[in-house]
């Protein structure tokens, strides 16, 4: 891997701890974003969205096409905001592109909901879950084709720069990831207090009764899919920022598996709980990163990369003691 910053400084253990903690929180932020996407779709429609991986990566793809290639997907004209060859985007331009990419991802979510999920309303949930699996398989080749083997640059303005705080090296991207996830999490929590959010919870609780109140269930579904896809895309974009393993780009190898790594998060937190997604993401990432850091002297015994299985161990344990997760509703309907 290219990221020299990940090589933890051999400074005092205090600095090591700070670095590990920020890394955990940053990775947790990515998990939280994608898990929120899962949870919103599940909460509103009871569909377990197996397409989250492909959809989130597609969102990140939009971003690279917009900012690195300077083109709009499927449109003939160029993106006037795109940085010219050899120059990096300014921070403002970068975030404008993030917003455009999220809008495109949301539109993708809307289209998918309208074409494949809406006609299935009232059908067994299992059938819908399998449909999302089909969407995953159908979209993935586009992602893989579009990504060059070496990955596509996201044009992150601050690259792999870091701040140094008393011996601890903290990459700027980590802090940005935390800020973005905090804003997104707060917005989602706020959304569920608004008129539409309350309606979404009502639909989740009792679809027929919600219809009897005049709530347009189809529209609620559409909004849930748009939000869920955009959040997943945001997670993938954040994960593409430098010190994370893809190294400032969208990677063919690492991005498609990102959603799979979020599975333990939603199982731990509870499929239908926003708070669960937030706590679950932070707990899982903390377990993963801390295990990777502090058990590294047993690398020869555990094998390298053992830290990636820690989340699944936590998930396994959770399923045994509390199958519906920390914050999930116990009487969740079966898929």
């Amino acid at each position: 891997m290219i990221n020299a910053t990940l090589q933890l400084a051999q400074a005092g253990s205090g600095a090591t701890f700070v670095q590990t903690l920020t890394k955990a929180l940053a990775l947790g932020s990515v998990y939280v974003l994608i898990a929120l996407g899962f949870v919103i779709i599940f909460k509103a429609t009871q569909v377990l969205n197996f397409a989250a991986g492909a959809l989130s990566m597609a969102g990140a793809m939009f971003m690279t096409i917009l900012i690195s290639d300077g083109g709009f997907p499927l449109l003939p004209f160029d993106n006037p905001l795109a940085p010219a060859e050899g120059e990096t985007a300014s921070i403002a331009v970068f975030f404008v592109h993030v917003l455009i990419a999220l809008a495109l991802a949301a539109i993708l979510g809307l289209v998918i909901e309208r074409l494949t999920i809406r006609p299935m309303v009232g059908q067994p949930l299992f059938a819908m879950a399998v449909i999302t699996l089909g969407i995953e398989i159908a979209i993935r080749p586009f992602n893989l084709d579009a990504t060059a083997l070496e990955g596509r640059r996201l044009g992150v303005p601050w690259g792999a720069d870091s701040w140094v705080w008393g011996g601890a090296v903290v990459p700027k991207s980590y802090i940005v990831a935390m800020v973005i996830a905090s804003i997104a999490g707060a917005s989602v929590l706020f959304f569920f207090r608004t008129k539409l959010g309350v309606a979404m919870r009502a639909v989740a609780f009792d679809q027929e009764a919600a219809m009897a109140q005049g709530i347009n269930v189809g529209r609620v579904f559409a909004i849930a899919w748009a939000m869920g896809t955009a959040l997943a895309a945001l997670g993938a974009i954040v994960y593409g920022m430098a010190p994370f393993p893809p190294g400032g780009s969208v990677s063919q190898e690492i991005h498609p598996l990102l959603a799979l790594r979020v599975l333990p998060v939603i199982v731990l937190g509870g499929l239908d709980s926003v708070a669960g997604a937030i706590y679950g993401g932070l707990i899982i990432a903390t377990a993963e990163v801390f295990a990777g850091q502090y058990l590294s002297q047993w690398n020869s015994t555990l094998g390298s990369g053992y830290s990636t299985i820690v989340p699944y161990l936590v998930m396994l344990f959770m399923l045994l003691v509390k199958p519906y997760g920390l914050f999930g509703t116990p009487e969740i309907r079966r898929v």
Partner: protein, 262 residues
């Protein structure tokens, strides 16, 4: 006026539940729809509010018109907007939401007057005002029924369909709900009261229908139905002879049959 003419409803394309049902709910009146289990009362309510689809039901014949406009098989949201709200059987409140949030869902189609409607509803149900921030699932049965009615009123309906509001409530609460229905009606809302509790329904209704296996077998002004021998025998549990209760030891089932079955 709500007018149902010769309505036929089929579930799953084979089960004929309503067979040519015709009822009318004139503006400003309370109309009672009585019937035993499985007569098709709830199906009637679903057909009016467009909820048949959820249950794989379809109207195959007949029409439902509301103030002159046909509303058969319209989307539920459109029907609520046109001024018909339903209080579903078994209350069906959103148990995970607070009382206020439940009411906000009820006002989904009518945001503009939400505050005014909220105050009006809280005046009718002072009990809900005390518990406005409580989670609805923790309310008592009576309070939940009140919440269900309040939620329906938030859409400012011209016609309120109440499906078994007395279900599972203590007699005193039933009386309370009954008085509330009368109050709501006095404010100019027509009421279609679907009930098994015939005594409660007929005591406040202007007009009544008796339903059996998907059709109307009897109709008339509520007072007339109350005095009818068949209704007394089969719905009120009174048996002539000065209204005394009958001992089941003396019952000879072949002796008395419903005359409308002929």
């Amino acid at each position: 006026m709500l007018e149902i003419a010769n309505l036929e409803v089929v579930y799953n394309e084979v089960i004929l539940v309503l067979r040519g049902l015709s009822i009318q709910v004139p503006n400003g009146q309370i109309v009672a729809l009585l019937g035993s289990n499985g007569a098709g009362k709830t199906t009637t309510a679903r057909a009016i509010t467009g909820l048949l689809d959820v249950h794989e039901g379809k109207t195959t014949k007949g029409s439902i018109t509301w103030n002159g406009a046909e509303i058969t098989e319209h989307l539920p949201a459109k029907i609520v907007e046109s001024g018909i709200s339903q209080v579903m059987e078994g209350r069906r409140i959103f148990a995970e939401l607070t009382v206020d949030e439940n009411l906000s869902c009820g006002a989904f189609t009518n945001r503009a007057n939400m505050d005014a409607n909220y105050d009006r509803v809280m005046e009718i149900f002072p009990r809900l005002k005390e518990r406005h921030s409580a989670v609805a699932g923790y309310l008592s049965g009576g309070e939940q029924q009140m919440l269900a009615i309040a939620r329906a009123l938030m859409a400012e309906p011209k016609l309120l369909i109440l499906d078994e509001p007395s279900l599972g409530l203590a007699p005193m609460l039933i009386e309370q709900i009954r008085d509330i229905i009368v109050d709501i009606n006095k404010q100019g809302v027509s009421v279609l009261l679907i009930e098994q509790n015939a005594m409660m329904a007929l005591s406040i209704a202007d007009f009544g229908y008796v339903m059996e296996s998907g059709k109307i077998v009897m109709d008339g002004p509520a007072q007339k139905l109350l005095n009818d021998e068949d209704v007394q025998e089969f719905y009120l549990g009174l048996h002539g002879d000065g209204g005394e209760r009958k001992s089941f030891r003396d019952v000879k089932h072949y002796k008395r049959r419903k005359r409308w079955l002929s």
